[in-house]
Every structure is written in C-alpha cells, then in structure tokens.
C-alpha cells in the first residue's frame, strides 16, 4: 500500500510540472496584458508598471524566476489587486470554498445515497422511477438556474432564508450548499443505484438473505459496502470539481470564495493569479484522485489482497 501511494505521488510531479509550464506560456501568449485598460495607458506609465512586476525581463528569465519563487512557496503578487499576494488571496478564499464544497458534498452524499439505495431496492417500480427521474432533472438543471429558483422560493416568497452572503446572517449557508450539491447528489444517486443493483444480485447477498438476516441488515452490512465503491471513486474528482466549479454558486450568492478569483483572473490577465490558482487546483485534483483510489482499494477486498501480496 505504501509503495502504491509513493508511486502515485511520484507520478503526480511531472503532471503538475507540465501544468505549470503549459499555463505559464499559454497565458503569456494570450493577446492583451494585465495593464491594458479601456483608457489608454501612457507609455511611460506602462514601462513603470512592467518594471515593478518584472515583466520587462526576457520571458525565459521570468519563467525560471517563477519556478524559483514557486519552490519557496511564493506565488507572487497579484496584478489586479496591488498590495495582495496570490498566496494571501488563495488563503482567504480557500477556507470558504472548501467549507462550501464540504457542505455541498455532505448534502449530495446524504440525499444521493439515500435516493439511490431506495431506488435500487425495488428497481423498475414507482419507488425507482420517482427518485431517478428527479436525479435526471438534478443532473440536467444547471446551478445558475437552480440557485435563483431556490432563492426566489425560499428567500423571497417564503422569506425563510437569507439569499446572499456567507456567515453574515444565520442560515445563509444553506441555499448555496444545496445549489452546489444537488447536481452531485443526482449523480451520486445514479451511481449508488447502479452499484447497489449489481451487488444485490450477487450470490453472497442471496446467501445472507437465505440465512434469514433482516433486509435492513443485508443492505447496511453487506450490500452498501460493495455497492458504494463507484460512489467513493467518484468522490475525489467530485470534491476537486466542487472546488473548481463553485464559481457560479459563489457569484449567485455573493460568497467570498476562490471560484470568482479563478475565473476573473483569466479575464484580467492576472498572470500570477491564473498560474497560482491553476497550479493549486491541479495539485488538489491530483491529490483527491489519489485519496479516492486509496479508499477504493481499501474497500475492495480483492485489491486489498493484491497490495498485501506486494503489488
């Protein structure tokens, strides 16, 4: 197992290096620069700005300087927000986005697994079709539609919940978490239904039933463990996707997370910010994929046996 993890960590290094290099040169080749604005910038001012941000050096020197700083954990100053470093902006946005992602994922798991298992117990009946139909709607419904709908109903007509903010008013974290989580809930519902259906038709389940175990014990003790492997495998990329994809929800609900910076950095040609967020998120995705692989391996007795044998 340790060797498996180490091997995967080693594989991650070239991946991240390629991401850094590709991003660095791609953003530089995009037309327009961080200091272009609608009002013409005087040439002497532009020169001064480029000197302050070391953009007057040759490109390869900038690249190596960036790699050097990155080695020291320094992502550089933001171009768009003078006086703030990219580290600081990531540091302020990440906890918020992570918290939002965590709530969304918890909601998605709770609702998704429940609906999926529920549907798998009586396939092709109403008990299957209703939750699965809702799941299909959930997958198709984009968050920029669901968010405003929830806000209209719960925030404005019923006036139960605040419609924007994060930690400013009691209950303001509920709607964004549900909005962000529901597409994942729907996906998890379908995955857990498929996983459960496969497991429930296995011989060992029949054995369990034959020896007279009550149905709920069959489900919770025997079926769930195997039936949820596809869900676990999905969780790693899902969490990374939640972090990277929270932009829409953060914008709808005025949440001070990372997503807004990530998307706007590209529009602003905020070179260091684009690089910083991309490098950071790609590292995170690699990391979460690794974790979900490890958990899936640990849950699957056959794979586990392989590792014990020294894969």
């Amino acid at each position: 197992m340790v060797r498996f993890i180490l091997w995967r960590l080693l594989q991650a290094i070239p991946v991240i290096f390629v991401v850094i290099t590709a991003t660095f040169f791609l953003v530089r080749s995009a037309p327009g620069g961080p200091f272009d604005s609608e009002k013409a910038v005087l040439p002497e001012v532009k020169r001064a700005l480029e000197a302050q941000y070391k953009l007057d050096l040759p490109l390869h020197e900038q690249y190596f300087a960036y790699l050097g700083d990155l080695g020291n954990g320094d992502l550089g100053p933001s171009f768009k927000y003078p006086g703030r470093s990219v580290n600081e902006i990531l540091g302020s946005g990440l906890p918020v986005t992570a918290e939002l992602g965590l709530y969304a994922l918890t909601f998605a798991l709770f609702v998704g697994v429940l609906a999926g298992v529920f549907a798998a117990l009586k396939p092709n009946t109403r008990q299957d079709f209703i939750p699965m139909g809702m799941a299909m709607i959930g997958i198709c419904m984009p968050s920029f539609l669901l968010g405003p709908l929830l806000v209209l109903v719960f925030g404005i007509y019923l006036d139960w919940l605040p419609i924007a903010g994060w930690g400013d008013l009691p209950g303001d974290k509920i709607l964004p978490s549900i909005t962000l989580g529901s597409a994942y809930a729907a996906y998890i519902a379908r995955l857990s239904r498929a996983g459960m259906l496969e497991i429930l038709s296995q011989d060992y389940i029949r054995t369990a039933r034959a020896k007279g175990l009550p149905e709920w014990q069959v489900v919770t003790q025997h079926a769930l463990r195997g039936g949820l492997i596809p869900v676990i495998a999905f969780l790693g990329p899902a969490f990374a996707g939640l972090l990277a994809g929270s932009f829409v929800v953060e914008t709808i609900f005025q949440i001070p997370g990372l997503g807004r910076f990530y998307v706007q950095a590209a529009f602003n040609r905020d070179y260091t910010m684009i690089l910083g967020t991309t490098v950071f998120l790609s590292t995170l995705i690699v990391f979460f994929n690794l974790i979900s692989d490890v958990i899936a391996a640990w849950l699957n007795p056959r794979l586990r046996a392989q590792f014990k044998g020294g894969a």
């Binding site: 327009g32 700005l49 003078p82 209950g171 001070p256």
Partner: protein, 548 residues
C-alpha cells in the same frame, strides 16, 4: 427497511427547514437602527491606495476614507471646501493658493500639512510609481516633464508648501476644471510616514492600506476588509467636519452579479444598488414610490470608425451610416429608455455646455450619401465588421445597428465579439473597421471628451487627425478669457470633428440605482457622485414591493 427510509426523507427535510426558519432581522432594519448603510458596490476594489487604484468601486470607498482639497457639492457639483477651508485664484487663472483647514487631521490625530500634498503629488507624478491617473495632475507646471523623466527635480514642478497651512500650485495655463480635479482620488494626500513604514514612496504594492495600518483623512476610517466579502468603514473621530457626518458607518458589498444584487435589495439586505438589471426596470418604473432612480450620466456610448480602412475611410460612408441610425428607436426598445440618444461626443449639459446637433435620423439622406460614395442601394458594398467586447448588452446593440443599416442602406454588416483584453488590443492596434466604445468623463468639462480626438491621442483610436482641431483644443481653448468664449471654441471644434464623423455616437449613459426609502442625501448628478458624509437614514420607512 422500507419504513425506515420512508420516515427518513421527511425527517431530513424537516431538519433543513427547522434550521432555516426565521432569517431574522434584515440588514436594512439593523442598519437603520445602528446608523449603518448597506451599499452594493459592484465589485471588490483593486485596492485602496489613492495613487494606485482606478475604477468606480474603488472611487466610492477611497472617497469615503480620504478627502480632497476641494470637494464637489453633491447637488450642483460646484467645488466647496474640503481639506482646504478656502483658496485664492490669481488674476490670470494660473496660480491657486490653498489654505488648509487647521482642523483637518489625519485619522491618527496628526494635523495635515501643505507638505503632505507636495509629497503625495510627487508620488502621483513620479515615473516609477506608474500611476495610471498621473495625467490628472498634468495641468500643473512641469508635471508632465517630471512624469516623463525629462526633468528629475520635483522642485521644478509647480507645487510649493509656502508654510504648513498654505499650498501654492502653479499651472501651465488657466484650467477651469482644476478645482474639480482636487476631488479626484489621484490628487488626494496620503500620509507619508505610514507609507514609508512599509516601503519606498513609489512602491505600488505594500500593505499600508490594510486595516490597522492605513492612515487616512476622510469622514470615515477603515474598520474591516474581508476580501470579496465586505468592507466596513466607520465614522472618523478626527475628521474636521465630524459633527455633520450622520452615518456611523457603511458596509460595502462586492455585488458583481447584478441579478443577485437586485434580489438582495428586494430582501432588504442592501440599501443601495450599484446598478439595476435592464429587464427589471419596466416593472420598477410602474411602482408607486419606486426605489428606482435614473439620471443622466457623464458618458457616451459610440462606435469608433477606423478612418484608414475602406469602405469607412470615405467620410460619405461614415455620414451615411450615422444618418441611417434611428437612435430614438434604439434607446426606446433595446435599452428600455435607460439611455438618451446621442448625436455628438460630449454629453448634453456638461457644465452648461451643449454639443452641436448636426444631423438626425434621415434614411433618405443616408441613401443619397451612400450613393454619392459609390454604393447606390448598397451595390458593390465590400462588407463591414463591427467588433465589440463579449457582453450581452453590446451584442444587442450591434444586432440592432446591423439590422438598421441593412434595412435603410441595404448593406451587409457582420458583427464579431471579442474577449475583453483581445478587444482592447484590437482597438489600441486599430485592427478593426468599426468598434464599440464607451467613454466616461473623469471631470465635468467638455475638454475631457474633446481632447480624445487630438492627433495620435492615446484614446483617439480612429486615425482622425486635424491640425485645426488640435490647435483649438490644445492652444486656443485653454487661453480663452471667458467661459462663453471657451465654449464657442469647443462648439467650433466639435462641429468640425462631427462633420468628419470619425465616430458614430449612439447614446448618452444614465446611472441607475435602487435606493431604499429610508435613505436620504443621495442626489442624482452627472458624475453619479455620492458624498457618504451627507447620507442620512430614517428608520421605519418600508420598502413597498407591492403584490408582484
């Protein structure tokens, strides 16, 4: 088993609802009680350093934290005392002497001095600072040369501290709008010792503007700055006119999503919105006691024409295109009456100046002009492309223009959107035939619009070059003895320019806000300029959103 699941679902729904019930007191209610204004500010400010930032969201916060030598009256926009309690202007209009109010203090209690201004303007103009608004101070003698490193001694620039209380400013030429520039953040004083504690004078990105570090001189001080969440400012104890500041503080929210902002307003989470979504406006207009406020804004939306590219290198073609545009219809339909049809570059009533109206919507004249240019009824038309930066509002206008030109002139137009920075690059490199453009005035004076089109001006972008025009704008108008004489020169220049039609004016902007009925002291004006010091809150007045 079944029963377990069946009971779990409603139970979990109940948990969600119970935690949800009762969102409590709204921001507007608590704000009115405690004297705090909740303000939709449109975006996270880039920063709060007066000599570094540019942009509207920055302007609102910086002008609450700092104050200029002279401020604008919120109703009339005429200058009134700020840090300077009075000033004298020399006979020939080139020497301004400002007398600093002895009560004017920094937020740490220190008295403000004339040398703070000398230091701060040195910073604004210094070539290493890279201040995007350095040119705002270019009316000052030798300042442009200093900024371009032609001279290196700041003593040669026309700014002198005669003593602690007296600042003398010498200009190149009479500049009737100079006092207005004193209310622009690029001319604000910063506290030298505070900046030097964190770096050099010319450093752009030191943390001196953070909570706890920043020293400012305005009616409010910085209390909290949570990135992308909110900025809270509090009434200053040391401000000279603190007795006239009604608010205890302001919450600024970076309300980037205009639709969310409008919803926050409806749920009474905001007193004031930065903008209003276009599709909501007709509904707000029909309400009694509507919170919707619209007023003319010092900005023009127009199409740049590249005068070096065929077919628009021909002035007759440019005139034909302009005559064929039904601007009234465009502003009425596409823009829902939120804009005013424009026939020239300067907005109407810019400090009493009204631009010449040289043409109107006249399709038959347009067809004649196009025929005279060699394209009768659009025959032989080589095609024309309009570019705009990717945004739904610009697309709608481009489509309407495309249809009008097709209908009236029978010519084919293509429209192309470009991502913001790509578009900026195309415009500055003049890689276009027709490009969408907007210009918002920095100060209320026709000069701010007319000097765009001087030969090779940085914001000209059309290739328009006219020696006589340049001479009027750069030489003759500044030396005019009276306002009337100056305005008649402007009229002459603007008439000349609009006959050559290097731009196709489309509309004059308006500012649009939702303002809660409990708020008073926000007056509509051309600059959309708000002085938070005059804002008052009146609890008990409710937002009436009617039945829909």
């Amino acid at each position: 088993m079944m029963r377990l699941f069946q009971s779990l679902i409603p139970a979990s729904a109940l948990v969600v609802l119970l935690t949800a019930c009762g969102s409590g007191e709204s921001n507007v209610e608590s704000g009115n009680r405690e004297g705090y204004l909740h303000y939709g500010n449109g975006a996270e400010p880039q920063g709060l350093d007066p000599q570094v930032v540019t942009g509207v969201p920055e302007n609102h916060i910086v002008r609450a934290l700092f104050e200029g030598l002279a401020v604008k009256n919120p109703k009339t926009l005429e200058p009134e005392p700020g840090v300077a309690e009075r000033w004298e202007i020399s006979e020939d209009g080139t020497v301004y002497t400002f007398y600093i109010n002895p009560e004017a203090k920094w937020s740490n209690g220190e008295a403000m001095t004339a040398s703070d201004y000398v230091w701060s303007w040195n910073r604004a103009l210094h070539p290493d600072t890279g201040s995007l608004y350095a040119y705002m101070l270019y009316p000052i003698k030798n300042s442009e040369a200093y900024s371009k490193r032609e001279i290196t001694d700041f003593n040669e620039v026309g700014v002198k501290a005669l003593d602690d209380q007296t600042l003398q400013v010498t200009l190149n030429a009479p500049t009737p709008y100079f006092l207005q520039l004193m209310d622009h953040y690029s001319s604000f004083a910063v506290h030298p010792e505070t900046l030097l504690k964190y770096g050099k004078m010319t450093d752009r990105f030191t943390p001196w503007t953070r909570v706890g570090s920043i020293v400012s001189n305005g009616p409010f001080t910085l209390e909290e700055w949570s990135l992308n969440r909110r900025i809270i400012i509090k009434k200053s104890e040391h401000y000279w006119d603190r007795d006239n500041v009604a608010l205890n503080g302001v919450y600024f929210y970076p309300t980037e999503n205009v639709v969310s902002e409008e919803r926050m307003f409806r749920a009474e989470q905001l007193h004031y919105t930065a903008v209003v979504p276009l599709d909501k406006i007709p509904d707000y207009r029909t309400r009694e006691n509507s919170p919707y406020v619209q007023s003319p804004y010092l900005g023009t939306y127009y199409y740049l024409v590249n005068t070096d590219r065929p077919p628009v290198d021909n002035v007759l073609v440019r005139q034909a295109l302009s005559y064929a545009l039904d601007r009234d219809k465009l502003t009425r339909t596409v823009l829902q009456d939120t804009a005013i049809a424009a026939y020239s570059i300067t907005p109407p009533d810019t400090l009493g100046y009204n631009p010449p109206k040289l043409f109107s919507y006249d399709p038959s004249k347009a067809r004649d002009l196009l025929a005279a240019a060699g394209y009768p009824n659009g025959e032989g038309w080589p095609g024309l492309e309009i570019i705009y930066n990717t945004q739904e509002a610009h697309r709608k206008i481009a489509v309407a223009v495309q249809q009008m030109w097709k209908k009236e002139l029978n010519i084919d137009i293509t429209i192309a959107n470009q991502e913001w920075k790509v578009y900026l690059n195309s415009v500055s490199q003049r890689e276009f035939q027709v490009a969408r453009r907007g210009w918002i005035g920095d100060y209320v004076d026709p000069n701010n619009f007319l000097d765009l089109f001087i030969t090779d001006g940085g914001n000209n972008n059309t290739g328009y070059a006219n020696d006589i025009y340049d001479e009027i704008i750069l030489e003759r108008a500044p030396k005019a003895k009276t306002r009337e004489a100056r305005y008649s020169l402007f009229t002459e220049a603007e008439t000349m320019m609009m006959n050559d039609m290097p731009i196709i004016p489309i509309y004059t902007y308006t500012s649009k806000h939702l303002i809660h009925p409990s708020v008073e002291g926000i007056y509509p004006n051309l600059m959309d300029s708000l002085n938070l010091k005059y804002v008052t809150l009146h609890p008990g007045r409710r937002l009436d959103m009617g039945s829909n």
